[in-house]
């Protein structure tokens, strides 16, 4: 069964690109949420194999979302991958300390982003991944 991934980002364009990449190249099923609040609701409503989460969001940022997810037993075990434009070493240290599965810095190559996700999560990648 195809993996199910939730993408949370306030930027519509980024959501579109990430979802396209995961679906078209990874062959997985991707669903998006436009804010932290919406993302948390989605995370609890369904079963997810992974969450790709943007850090810089208005109202509720990625760090707050991770803490909420970890606070809830239902969502605690879902691996989270952070997307961020903050690439200072001090920022990266702070994010790693949250206990997330991995970090993908912006800007990223959409053709390769699914590979990064697979690698972080230890999922098998077939070279001849079917298109679509």
């Amino acid at each position: 069964m195809s993996k199910r991934i939730l993408v949370i980002d306030d930027e519509l364009d980024i959501r579109d690109v990430v979802c396209l990449s995961l679906e078209e190249f990874g062959g997985w099923h991707a669903t998006s949420a436009a804010s932290g609040q919406e993302g948390l609701a989605q995370a609890q409503a369904q079963v997810w194999d992974a969450i790709v989460l943007d850090v810089s969001m208005p109202d509720m940022d990625g760090v707050a979302v991770v803490k909420q997810l970890q606070a809830n037993p239902a969502t605690r075990s879902i691996p989270v991958i952070l997307l961020t434009a903050r690439v200072l070493p001090s920022d990266l240290d702070r994010f790693t300390a949250l206990g997330v599965a991995g970090i993908i810095p912006k800007p990223f190559d959409p053709v390769k982003v699914w590979q990064l996700v697979a690698k972080i999560l230890g999922w098998p990648t077939e070279v001849d991944q079917p298109k679509g």
């Binding site: 930027e11 364009d13 980024i14 396209l20 990449s21 190249f25 208005p58 903050r86 200072l88 053709v111």
Partner: protein
């Protein structure tokens, strides 16, 4: 004549010593010389004997050889007629006896053979056969073995061995003396032109039958004998020679030729012996001549000498020993030996030098001893004499006399010292008494005068003479003031004489005053005067004694003290003012320092605190000096502070620590520096660095925002283009189109952002020179409204404009930009259906004309929190971080507006009520500055 003691002691002693030493030296020299002369005589005798023995041995050889040759012929072993055999025999003998000069033989038949040495190791052989056919004398030269004969020209035919020499032929003489004889002959063996004298031994030879067969001879050249003597004395000074008793000279060691070697044309004369002989007196050697003169000075017959004779000769300051010794009996010769005495006298001279040295040493020692003794005796006596002279001359201090070990002199000295001591002490006592009173009066530090009853001055001490400079002049009581120039103090009025203390004293009254001034060489001197009368036994005044002194210094001191007190008061006042001033300055300085300053003891209790308000003091300010500093800090910071204080006190270096704490809900950052002052005190300087921390944090935030702002559109562009490029959407054109559009929109967003950043940078750095002109305010407003109409419509916001007909001095484009930014901000933060106003008003500080135009943009949005009212004009300082994305702004709009307005010399600010709306204002000048 007077002689000093020293001379008397030394003179005779010295003469005595010199005499004894000289005598001893002379005797020693004399006896030494005699001993040496006797020794020298013995040595000479020995030397003469040795020379004599050698010479005898030497002369024995020709004698023996001649005898042997005669015996050989007589025994028939040699034949006197066989000249050939004889010749080889003679050659052998010459080789064997190197001292022999030549050998010869003449026989009865008149044959002659002579073998002789030549100068150059060759032999000369003369041969005469004596046959009737050949009477020629042939001379040959051969080698040393008699071989290789060469005939030497000319051949003589006039030689007859029996008649040689013609007048006194040796052949006859030899015949007459069977035992043989010595004769001096002339030999021509070296050639007729080289006549030489030789000493020849002749012996007659008989045949075995006893008949005379001929004569054999052996010769030694006199020159050879001389050479022998020369060898004998070689290496010694002095000389040896041999003479005949008549003075004929035979041989000498000096190298002279002892005969005449001249040749003449007459052969007979050439071969004659006697003319060639020379006497010893004919020697050219100086010493030889002198000896000859010495020998023949006394006409004693030298032939009578049987024993060696010894004598001494002086020549050229040299002494020579001369000894004459007779030689053997058959040769009546005398051997003379001459030796310089110096050869023997070296010892005596050495002895003499030693004697002289010892004498000199003895002399010096004796003189030294004599001098010391004389000095030892005379010194104490002289010192006594000096002391006596000094005493007689009146010297105050008599030089101390020298103690001595000589009993008599010492006694004399002690008596003298005692006598001098008594005399000196008597003199001193006498003089002391005389001077005591005068000294006393002169010594007192006040002036003293003594007056008789008439007022006349009788005595004045040294001090007094300095004040009463006229001294002891005639003056009665009523004249004293005038004569001695006495005035009433502070006036030119002469002091009334009847008031003078001395005049009162003469009336029997003891009095004193200090209001008298005296004129001393033009200078007024204030005086203090005391007078006491001296009464006789009848109660009559005898004298008045007047004591007075200059009180100028006392007066000056009083004046000075008054001045000083006044000055001191003034100084104190000045100092006080200065101190107050200093205190104020110091306080101002401390107040200017933005830090809390605290002097702290080791225990942690503050000693002094300044600027308590500079930091956030969390303790009770009323009791800062009652508690330790640590009790007024949170526990962890207190621990840290305490460690720093201890470290500062221990190491003597400045310690520093930074910390943060929360107080009344706020977080503060502080920096404390602990400066060691003494061993038990530190200075604590605390600074609030919250603002600095805030700035740091803002800077970090700014970087993060810029990074995020730039990366977000870039990520979208990168992603869209990547998907397009992969071709995964090739069969879905509408999605491809979406990706393209996304790229374009994000590119525009990126451009806007970069433009804003660059704009702001240019404005802020002042690199863009704004071109300003007079602009119509209404026109500017209209242009701005045109720019935002579209988005206002989109956001359903209603725009109201209150234009103003006026001009401003501005760069129009930038003002339109600023208005547009403000308007679009207002629209962005307005809810649909709400209103936005744009207004312009003239502001006139004085009645007219207006100096500034004020623009305002008002909205009905959510408003701005009070603490953000200023910050929103900073870069990327939206009220909310998310605003930039939500409202599509770059976060730089207000910063750009502020920069533009300030470049025009205007002001930008905002007034806002949360939940009701905000109004942004800015002003612009109406005319150029």
């Amino acid at each position: 004549m007077k002689i000093s003691l020293r001379t008397l002691l030394i003179g005779p002693f010295l003469l005595q010593v010199l005499g004894i030493t000289g005598l001893v030296g002379y005797l020693s020299y004399r006896s030494g010389q005699r001993a040496v002369e006797s020794m020298a005589s013995q040595l000479m005798t020995q030397t003469g004997q040795r020379v004599q023995d050698s010479l005898n041995t030497y002369l024995q050889i020709p004698k023996r050889v001649t005898q042997v040759n005669g015996e050989l012929i007589q025994s028939g072993q040699l034949n006197s007629d066989d000249l050939t055999t004889l010749e080889s025999h003679f050659v052998q003998q010459l080789q064997f006896f190197p001292s022999i000069t030549g050998l010869a033989m003449a026989n009865e038949a008149g044959a002659f053979l002579n073998v002789a040495r030549s100068n150059d190791a060759t032999l000369i052989i003369r041969r005469l056969k004596g046959t009737p056919n050949d009477r020629g004398l042939y001379r040959y030269q051969t080698n040393s073995y008699g071989q290789n004969p060469t005939l030497l020209e000319p051949v003589r035919y006039d030689f007859d061995p029996h008649r040689d020499p013609p007048h006194q032929p040796w052949y006859e003489a030899a015949q007459a003396t069977p035992d043989g004889l010595w004769r001096v002959v002339v030999t021509l063996q070296q050639g007729q032109d080289k006549p030489l004298l030789a000493m020849v031994r002749f012996n007659p030879v008989y045949n075995p039958q006893g008949q005379l067969a001929g004569v054999v001879s052996t010769g030694i050249l006199l020159t050879e004998i001389s050479a022998f003597l020369q060898r004998l004395v070689q290496g010694h000074q002095g000389q040896v020679f041999v003479i005949e008793p008549n003075g004929n000279w035979v041989a000498t060691s000096t190298g002279e030729v002892t005969f005449d070697a001249q040749t003449g044309p007459n052969h007979a004369q050439n071969v004659a012996v006697q003319p060639r002989r020379r006497t010893i007196q004919q020697s050219s050697h100086g010493l030889t001549q002198a000896v000859a003169k010495h020998l023949f000075a006394h006409p004693a017959d030298l032939s009578q000498i049987q024993q060696p004779q010894f004598s001494v000769l002086r020549l050229d300051r040299q002494r020579y020993f001369v000894q004459i010794t007779p030689l053997q009996a058959d040769l009546n010769w005398l051997l003379v030996t001459v030796v310089p005495t110096a050869q023997f006298m070296e010892d005596i001279y050495a002895n003499l030098a030693r004697t002289a040295l010892l004498c000199a040493l003895a002399l010096l020692g004796s003189i030294g001893l004599g001098l010391w003794t004389a000095e030892y005796i005379t010194k104490p006596i002289l010192s006594l004499q000096q002391a006596t002279q000094a005493f007689t001359g009146g010297l105050a201090v008599v030089p101390p006399t020298q103690p001595t070990h000589i009993e008599e002199v010492e006694a004399l000295r002690q008596q003298f010292d005692q006598m001098v001591g008594q005399l000196v002490s008597s003199f001193r006592t006498l003089r002391d008494r005389e001077n005591t009173l005068a000294t006393f009066l002169n010594g007192v530090p006040v002036a003293i005068s003594v007056h008789d009853p008439s007022g006349q001055l009788l005595f004045l001490n040294d001090k007094g003479r300095k004040l009463l400079v006229k001294g002891l002049v005639e003056a009665a009581s009523e004249q004293l003031s005038e004569v001695y120039q006495l005035y009433v103090a502070g006036t030119d009025q002469l002091y009334p004489t009847e008031q003078l203390p001395v005049v009162k004293g003469l009336r029997g009254i003891t009095d004193s005053t200090n209001d008298i001034e005296i004129d001393v060489e033009g200078r007024r001197v204030p005086l203090e005067v005391h007078t006491i009368p001296v009464f006789d036994s009848d109660g009559q005044v005898l004298y008045a004694i007047n004591a007075f002194q200059d009180i100028t210094e006392r007066r000056q001191a009083e004046q000075l003290r008054a001045n000083y007190e006044r000055e001191l008061e003034q100084r104190v006042a000045e100092q006080t003012a200065w101190l107050v001033q200093g205190e104020i300055t110091q306080q101002a300085l401390i107040n200017a320092i933005p830090d809390l300053l605290m002097r702290l003891g080791r225990a942690g209790v503050p000693l002094e605190i300044y600027n308590l308000d500079a930091v956030n003091w969390i303790g009770n300010k009323a009791e800062i000096y009652q508690k330790t500093m640590y009790e007024n800090l949170p526990p962890d910071i207190a621990n840290q502070r305490q460690r720093c204080v201890e470290a500062a006190l221990t190491t003597g270096t400045i310690q520093r620590h930074e910390y943060e704490f929360s107080f009344e809900g706020k977080i503060y950052y502080e920096e404390a520096r602990i400066v060691p002052v003494t061993q038990d005190e530190v200075l604590v300087v605390v600074r609030d660095i919250s603002d600095r921390r805030k700035v740091d944090r803002l800077k970090d935030e700014f970087i993060a925002i810029v990074s995020h702002e730039l990366r977000t559109p870039l990520t979208a562009i990168r992603g869209a283009l990547g998907i397009l490029d992969s071709g995964v959407l090739n069969d879905r054109p509408e999605k491809n189109q979406h990706m393209l559009k996304m790229s374009l929109l994000n590119t525009e967003r990126l451009i806007r952002l970069v433009d804003d950043i660059l704009n702001l940078e240019r404005l802020a750095s002042g690199k863009v020179k704004l071109v300003k002109e007079l602009c119509q305010v209404s026109t500017l407003m209209q242009l701005a409204v045109d720019g935002v109409e579209a988005i206002a419509l989109e956001a359903a916001v209603i725009l109201y404009v209150n234009p103003l007909e006026a001009t401003v001095w501005a760069a129009p484009d930038t003002i339109v930009q600023a208005l547009t930014n403000l308007l679009s901000n207002a629209i962005k933060f307005s809810t649909p259906g709400s209103k936005v106003w744009l207004k312009a008003e003239a502001i006139a500080p004085s009645p007219n004309p207006p100096a500034f135009i004020r623009f305002s943009v008002t909205d009905e949005g959510r408003g701005i929190p009070a603490d953000r009212l200023e910050a929103i004009f900073d870069r990327f300082q939206q009220v909310d971080v998310s605003d930039s994305r939500q409202r599509g702004g770059t976060g730089l709009g207000l910063a750009i507006c502020k920069s533009i307005v300030e470049q025009h010399g205007g002001e930008l600010w905002v007034e806002s009520v949360l939940g009701q709306g905000s109004t942004f204002y800015f002003t612009l000048p109406v005319s150029p500055p």
